[in-house]
C-alpha cells in the first residue's frame, strides 16, 4: 500500500507550516503560503469527497502501514474515512482557509508563528478524524492541544494565560484516562485497529462500563458536556477570533466524534446502560446553556454558552442510537461549525471596529452596517434553527430521533430539549435586537464601516453552505447514511442478544395494528438496502 489522498489532505497543512518556517518574516508572503497549503488541502479533500462512495458503509481510501513497535506494542500508521468522519474532514478543510482569511488583518504580530500554529492545528484535527489506529488517534488528539494552547496564550485577550492553561489542563486530565483505556484494550485484544476493535470488543458490562467512562470523560470535556463546560467560555473569550472559530467549529466536534466512534461504537452496551444519565446531562446542557446564554453581557460568552446548548442537542441525538438521531447529530456537528463559527466571525467584526464586545455598547447597528445586518441575520437564524437553513435539519432529526429512540424510550428528553428551541429564539433574537435594532444613539457606532470585501469574502461561503444544507441536506446526509445504518444495525444486533427486553419495548411503542406492520416492513426494507458492505 502507498500513501494516498488522506495523507495528502492531512499533511499538506503541516508541509505548509514547515515551508513557512524557512520563509523570511514577510507577512504577505507567509499569509499567501499558508493560504495556498490550506486551500490545497481543501481541494484534495474535495476530490476525496467526490470520489467517496456513499453506498459503502465501511472505511474508504484506507492507508495502513506498520509504523513502530515498542516491545509487543505495534502501532500502525492507519488512516481511513467513512460516513462518520467524512463530513467532519470536509468541515475542517473548509473552515481553515476561511479562518486564515479572517486572520488576514485581525492578527497583527508574529504572523509567522501564528500561521504555523494554525496549519499545524489543522493537521492535528484532520488526523484525529482520519486515524484508524488508537495510538495514532491519541497522538493527534494530544498534539493538537499544543498549537491551540499557543494560539490562545499568545494572541489572546487579557486573561489569555489563565484561559490557555485551563483549556490545556482540562483536556489533558480527560485524555489521560482514555490512554489507560486504550492500553487496556490493547492488552485484551492485541490490536489498536479501530475498525476491528469496534467489531470484536465483547467485555462484561462491569469492565466495559469503566472503559466507557474513561473515554466518555475525555470526550465530554471536549464537547463540552455540562458540568465540564467552564473552560469553554474562558477559552472563547480570550482566544482571538480565528481561534474561537476553529475551537467552536472543529475542536468541539472531536468530542462528539469520539462519543460516536468510541463510546457508542465500541461500547454500545455501556452506552445503553448510561443512556439516561447522559440524556439528562444533554438536556441540562441544552436548557442551562440557553438560559445562561440569555443573560450574558459579553457577546463571545453568549455564543460560547449557546455552543453548550447546541452540542447538548448533538449528544442527545447521538445517544438516541437510531439512524435518524445519529444522522441528525452528525449533520448538526457540521451545522454548529458553520453557524457558531459564523457567529464568532460576526462578533469578531464588531470587536475589530469597536474593541468591545459588551452588548450594552451597541444598538441600531443595522443602520450603519446594513450588509453586515443581513449576514448577521442569516447566521443568527441558522443558529436558532429556522427551517430552510441548516440548523433546523439537524435539530429536527435529533428531536425526532430522540423521540422515537428505543434507547431512551421516554419522550421527556425530547420535550425538555424542545424548550431549547424556544430559548434559542429568545437569546439569539434578543441579542440581535439589542445590537442591531433600536435607535442608533451611541456616537461611536454612527460611523462604523460596513463589511469590507475581505470580510464578505470569508462570510459568503459560510452562508452558502448554511443555505445549501438547509435546502438540500441530502448532498451531505447521504454520505453518512450507509455507515450510520450499518452501525445502528450492528449495535441493535449486539444488544438484542443480551437484552431480550428490547423487543417488547419496540412493540409496546408501536400499536398493534395492521397499519403498523405495514410501516415496520418498510423499515426492514430500508435496512436490507443498506446491507453492511465492510
Amino acid at each position: 500500500m502507498e500513501f494516498g489522498i488522506l495523507s495528502l489532505i492531512t499533511f499538506l497543512p503541516l508541509a505548509g507550516a514547515i515551508v513557512i518556517l524557512f520563509l523570511p518574516k514577510r507577512d504577505g508572503l507567509i499569509k499567501t503560503t499558508a493560504m495556498i497549503f490550506a486551500t490545497a488541502s481543501f481541494i484534495s479533500s474535495l476530490v476525496m469527497f467526490l470520489a467517496f462512495k456513499s453506498q459503502l458503509a465501511g472505511m474508504q481510501f484506507v492507508e495502513n502501514f506498520d509504523w513502530f513497535e515498542i516491545g509487543e506494542f505495534k502501532v500502525n500508521y492507519h488512516l481511513g474515512v467513512d460516513g462518520i468522519s467524512i463530513l467532519l474532514v470536509m468541515l475542517t478543510t473548509f473552515l481553515t482557509p476561511l479562518v486564515l482569511l479572517s486572520s488576514w488583518r485581525s492578527i497583527k504580530d508574529r504572523m509567522k508563528e501564528y500561521m504555523m500554529f494554525m496549519l499545524f492545528l489543522e493537521t492535528g484535527m484532520l488526523g484525529v478524524f482520519l486515524s484508524l489506529d488508537m495510538v495514532l488517534f491519541y497522538i493527534f488528539w494530544e498534539i493538537m492541544l499544543i498549537p491551540m494552547y499557543f494560539i490562545i496564550g499568545i494572541w489572546g485577550g487579557p486573561r489569555k494565560i489563565y484561559a490557555a492553561v485551563k483549556f490545556f489542563i482540562y483536556t489533558m486530565v480527560g485524555s489521560v484516562l482514555m490512554l489507560v483505556s486504550i492500553i487496556y484494550l490493547y492488552i485484551q485484544y492485541q490490536t489498536l485497529n479501530i475498525v476491528q476493535l469496534a467489531n470484536i470488543i465483547n467485555l462484561p458490562l462491569d469492565v466495559e462500563k469503566w472503559l466507557f467512562l474513561a473515554f466518555f470523560l475525555a470526550f465530554a470535556i471536549k464537547v463540552p458536556i455540562f458540568p465540564l463546560h467552564t473552560w469553554l467560555p474562558d477559552a472563547h473569550v480570550e482566544a482571538p477570533t480565528p481561534g474561537s472559530v476553529i475551537l467552536a467549529g472543529v475542536l468541539l466536534k472531536m468530542g462528539t466524534y469520539g462519543l460516536l466512534r468510541f463510546c457508542i461504537g465500541f461500547f454500545p452496551e455501556s452506552a445503553y446502560y448510561f443512556k439516561t444519565p447522559i440524556a439528562i446531562l444533554a438536556v441540562i446542557g441544552i436548557t442551562y446553556g440557553a438560559l445562561v446564554s440569555l443573560v450574558q453581557r459579553d457577546m463571545k460568552k453568549l455564543v460560547a454558552y449557546s455552543s453548550v446548548s447546541h452540542l447538548g442537542f448533538v449528544v442527545l441525538g447521538l445517544f438516541a442510537v437510531n439512524t435518524i438521531g445519529i444522522q441528525g447529530g452528525i449533520i448538526q456537528m457540521i451545522n454548529h461549525g458553520l453557524s457558531t463559527g459564523g457567529l464568532f466571525l460576526i462578533v469578531g467584526m464588531i470587536y475589530e471596529r469597536r474593541h468591545t464586545r459588551q452588548i450594552s455598547e451597541f444598538g441600531g447597528i443595522s443602520k450603519s452596517m446594513p450588509i453586515f445586518a443581513v449576514f448577521f441575520m442569516v447566521i443568527a437564524l441558522s443558529s436558532l434553527g429556522l427551517p430552510g437553513l441548516n440548523g433546523f435539519v439537524g435539530e429536527f432529526n435529533i428531536l425526532l430521533g430522540s423521540f422515537t429512540s428505543v434507547f431512551y424510550d421516554n419522550p421527556i428528553f425530547t420535550i425538555i430539549a424542545g424548550t431549547g428551541v424556544i430559548l434559542a429564539a429568545a437569546y439569539i433574537l434578543w441579542w440581535f435586537k439589542r445590537v442591531m435594532f433600536g435607535p442608533l444613539d451611541n456616537e461611536k457606532n454612527k460611523k462604523l464601516k460596513d463589511m469590507s470585501l475581505l470580510e464578505i469574502a470569508y462570510t459568503v461561503p459560510l452562508v452558502l453552505f448554511i443555505v445549501w444544507i438547509g435546502i438540500y441536506p441530502t448532498t451531505f446526509m447521504s454520505k453518512s447514511e450507509a455507515t450510520v445504518n450499518a452501525m445502528v444495525k450492528r449495535i441493535y444486533k449486539k444488544l438484542d442478544l443480551k437484552d431480550p427486553a428490547k423487543e417488547d419495548r419496540i412493540e409496546f411503542k408501536m400499536p398493534k395494528t395492521k397499519v403498523i406492520s405495514l410501516s415496520d416492513n418498510k423499515l426492514e426494507d430500508k435496512h436490507l438496502e443498506t446491507e453492511e458492505t465492510e
Binding site: L291, P387, M477, K522
Partner: protein, 634 residues
C-alpha cells in the same frame, strides 16, 4: 399550464431574491414591478388551478430530508381545499402588494419591504400547498420569520423591534407543540404525509393509538394557538400592529394568522378521531372570541381595535372547526380575509391622511375627506357585524347555527358566547367607524387641511376588497336561504364526515339567523347612540361606573404584565442570579474546577517545592494518581 404550477410558490421566492439582492441598484418602479409581478404570476396560476379544478396528490420538486425511515419532499398538493386557499392568498396578496406600492412610496428601503412581502408569499403558499406536516411546518415557521421581519420593519423604533421579537418567540412556544405533535404522528404512522396518514388512519385504530392521536392533535392545536393568536398565546398579535398597515392586513389579518385554522382543516381526518381535542378547540375558540371582543370595546388605537377583532374572529373559526363544522370554519376564514384586509388597509389610508395618528379620539369627521375609505370601511364593518346580505352574515350565521345544533357538550353555551360576541363585534366596529368618520374633527387644527384621500394604487384595492366583502358570502349561501351551499359541496372530497352530523330544522335556522341579525343591529344602534355625535360623555359615564372593571379591560386584563411577572422576569432573574452567578461561576467553575486546581496546587506545593511550572505539576500528578487508581482497580 399545470407544469407551471410550481411557480405559484416559487415566483414570489424569485421576487424575494431579485429585490432582496439587487433592489438597491435600480429605481422604485422596478422594485414594484418585480414585487407585484411575481405575486401576479402566482395569482394567475392559482386562478387557473382553481377554475380547472386541478387536483394532484403531490408534485414533488425534490426530496428535502431523508434519514432512516423519515422522508419529506418539497412537494405541492392540489385539492379543493388548497386550491381555494391559494386563490384567496394570492388574490388578497396581490391587492395588498398593489396597495403597498402606494403606501410605502415614501419609504427609503422599499426593496427590503417588497422582498420580505414576497418571501412571506412564498412561505405562506408553501404552508398551504405542502403535502406533509414537515413542509407545512417549514412554511409555518417561514411565515413566522416574515412576520418577525415585517413587524420590526421600522427597527429603529424600540417598540417595533420588541414586538417582532415577541411575535417570534411566542410563536416558537406554539411551534414546539406542533413539532411534538408531528413526532407522535411519525411514531404512530411512520410517515408525515397527509394522504398517507389519512389512509392509514382509516384502518380502525386501537384505543392506545387513538389516545396518542388525541395528544398529538392537542399538541398541534397548541401550535395553532400560537400562530393564530388564541388564548393563551394571543398576546403577540396586538403588538404586531407595529408593522406597516399592509403587513397587518396581509399577514396579521387575512392569511398567516389563519394558518392554524387551515392546519386543523387540512388534518381534519385526525381531529375527528379526537373528540376531546375538538372540544378543547371549540372552547378555546369560543372563549377567545368573547375575551378579545371585550378588549376591543375599550381600545382607542384604531389598529389595536382591529387586532383584537382579528383575535376574536379567529376564535369564531376555531369554534367552528372544533364543532366539526370545517366548512363553516373555512367559509368564515375566506370572508374574513376580505373584510378584515379591507379594514386594515382602510386604517392604513386613515393613518396616511392623519399623518400616522392612531388614536381615534383625535380623529372624527373624516367622512368629509375620505370618500372611498369611509364607504368601503363601512361595508366591511357591516360584513363583520353579520348584517345580511354582506358576506360576514352568512359565514358567522353558519358558525352560530352549527354550534347551536352540534351534539357536543356545552354547544349551547358556546353558541351563546358566539352570539354575545357578535353583538360586541358590531358595537366595537361601529364605535370605530363613528369615532373615526363621524362627529367633529378632534385633531390638531392646522393638520385638518392636509387630510386627503389616498391615491389610486391604494383606493382601487379598497374597492375590490369591498366588492369581495359584499359578495364573498355567495359561495356559502345555505339551503334555507335559497343557496346551494356551494362551498360545502366543493370541500366534500377533502373533509372527513363529522361523527354525528346533526341536522336542525329549517325553522331553527330561520330563528337563529334572525336572532343573530337582531343582536348585530343592537350593537350597531348602541354604538351609534354612544359615538355618532363624536362626544364621549355617555361612554365615559359608563366607564366611570364600571371603574376597576373598565380599567382592567382597558389594560387588556393585564395579561402581558402577568406573563412578564410570572414567566419572563423570573426566568431572566434565575438565569442571571442563580444559574450564571451562583451555579456557573460559583459552583461549577469556582468550587469544582478552580477549587480542585487550588487543591492540587497546594498539594503540589507540599509534596515538592521544586516544581515551578504548573502545567507539568498538574499533568504529572494526574497521570500518576490516575495510573495508581487504575492499577488498584484491575
Amino acid at each position: 399550464m399545470e407544469s407551471l404550477y410550481p411557480l405559484i410558490p416559487l415566483a414570489p421566492l424569485g421576487g424575494f431574491l431579485i429585490n432582496g439582492l439587487f433592489g438597491r441598484l435600480y429605481k422604485k418602479p422596478i422594485v414594484y414591478t418585480v414585487g407585484i409581478g411575481t405575486v401576479a404570476i402566482s395569482f394567475i396560476l392559482a386562478f387557473h388551478a382553481f377554475v380547472t379544478g386541478f387536483s394532484a396528490k403531490a408534485i414533488s420538486l425534490f426530496t428535502w430530508i431523508s434519514a432512516g425511515s423519515l422522508r419529506a419532499d418539497y412537494s405541492l398538493m392540489f385539492d379543493p381545499l388548497s386550491n381555494i386557499m391559494i386563490l384567496m392568498v394570492t388574490g388578497i396578496g396581490l391587492l395588498i402588494h398593489i396597495y403597498s406600492a402606494g403606501y410605502m412610496s415614501h419609504d427609503k428601503t422599499v426593496p427590503r419591504f417588497f422582498a420580505y412581502m414576497n418571501l412571506f408569499m412564498f412561505a405562506m403558499l408553501t404552508l398551504v400547498l405542502a403535502d406533509n406536516f414537515l413542509m407545512m411546518f417549514v412554511g409555518w415557521e417561514g411565515v413566522g420569520l416574515c412576520s418577525y421581519l415585517l413587524i420590526g420593519y421600522w427597527y429603529e423604533k424600540p417598540s417595533a423591534a420588541n414586538a417582532g421579537m415577541k411575535a417570534f418567540v411566542v410563536n416558537r412556544i406554539g411551534d414546539l407543540g406542533f413539532l411534538l405533535g408531528m413526532f407522535i404522528l411519525f411514531s404512530i404512522f411512520g410517515t408525515l404525509n397527509f394522504l398517507d396518514i389519512q389512509s392509514l388512519a382509516s384502518f380502525g385504530l386501537d384505543e392506545s393509538t387513538l389516545a396518542l392521536i388525541g395528544i398529538a392533535t392537542l399538541l398541534l392545536f397548541i401550535g395553532a394557538t400560537g400562530k393564530s393568536a388564541q388564548l393563551p398565546l394571543y398576546t403577540w398579535l396586538p403588538d404586531a400592529m407595529e408593522g406597516p398597515s399592509p403587513v397587518s392586513a396581509l399577514i396579521h389579518a387575512a392569511t398567516m394568522v389563519t394558518a392554524g385554522v387551515y392546519m386543523i382543516i387540512r388534518s381534519n381526518f385526525l381531529f375527528v378521531l379526537a373528540p376531546d381535542t375538538m372540544l378543547v378547540v371549540a372552547i378555546v375558540g369560543g372563549l377567545t372570541a368573547l375575551f378579545a371582543a371585550t378588549i376591543g370595546l375599550t381600545q382607542f388605537d384604531i389598529k389595536r381595535v382591529l387586532a383584537y377583532s382579528t383575535v376574536s374572529q379567529l376564535g369564531y373559526m376555531f369554534l367552528a372547526v372544533g364543532m366539526g363544522a370545517f366548512t363553516a370554519g373555512l367559509f368564515h376564514l375566506l370572508t374574513h380575509a376580505f373584510f378584515k384586509a379591507l379594514l386594515f388597509l382602510g386604517a392604513g389610508t386613515v393613518m396616511h391622511a392623519m399623518d400616522d395618528e392612531l388614536d381615534m379620539r383625535k380623529m372624527g369627521a373624516l367622512k368629509k375627506y375620505m370618500k372611498i375609505t369611509q364607504p368601503t370601511m363601512f361595508i366591511a364593518s357591516l360584513a363583520i357585524a353579520g348584517i345580511p346580505p354582506f358576506s360576514g352574515f352568512f359565514s358567522k350565521d353558519e358558525i352560530l347555527y352549527q354550534s347551536f345544533i352540534a351534539g357536543v357538550p356545552f354547544s349551547k353555551v358556546l353558541w351563546a358566547l358566539g352570539l354575545l360576541t357578535a353583538g360586541l363585534t358590531a358595537f366595537y366596529m361601529f364605535r370605530l367607524i363613528f369615532m373615526t368618520f363621524w362627529g367633529d374633527y378632534r385633531g390638531p387644527k392646522e393638520h385638518e387641511k392636509h387630510i386627503h384621500e389616498a391615491g389610486n394604487s391604494m383606493a382601487i384595492p379598497l374597492i375590490i376588497l369591498a366588492a369581495g366583502a359584499v359578495l364573498a358570502g355567495i359561495i356559502g349561501i345555505p339551503h334555507f336561504l335559497g343557496g346551494g351551499n356551494w362551498l360545502g359541496n366543493y370541500l366534500e372530497p377533502v373533509l372527513a364526515k363529522a361523527p354525528e352530523a346533526v341536522h336542525g330544522s329549517v325553522a331553527t335556522e330561520w330563528i337563529l339567523a334572525i336572532v343573530s341579525v337582531l343582536v348585530g343591529l343592537t350593537g350597531i344602534i348602541l354604538a351609534m347612540w354612544f359615538y355618532k355625535e363624536g362626544k364621549f360623555a355617555k361612554s365615559e359615564k359608563i366607564a366611570a361606573k364600571l371603574g376597576p372593571v373598565y380599567r382592567l379591560v382597558l389594560h387588556k386584563y393585564r395579561i402581558d404584565e402577568l406573563y412578564n411577572a410570572v414567566v419572563v422576569k423570573p426566568m431572566i432573574w434565575v438565569s442571571d442570579n442563580i444559574l450564571r452567578v451562583k451555579v456557573d461561576e460559583g459552583l461549577v467553575d469556582g468550587v469544582m474546577v478552580n477549587g480542585s486546581a487550588k487543591f492540587f496546587r497546594k498539594l503540589g506545593g507540599v509534596v515538592s517545592k521544586l516544581q515551578t511550572g504548573y502545567i507539568q505539576t498538574y499533568i504529572v500528578f494526574f497521570i500518576l494518581g490516575i495510573l495508581i487508581l487504575f492499577w488498584l482497580l484491575f
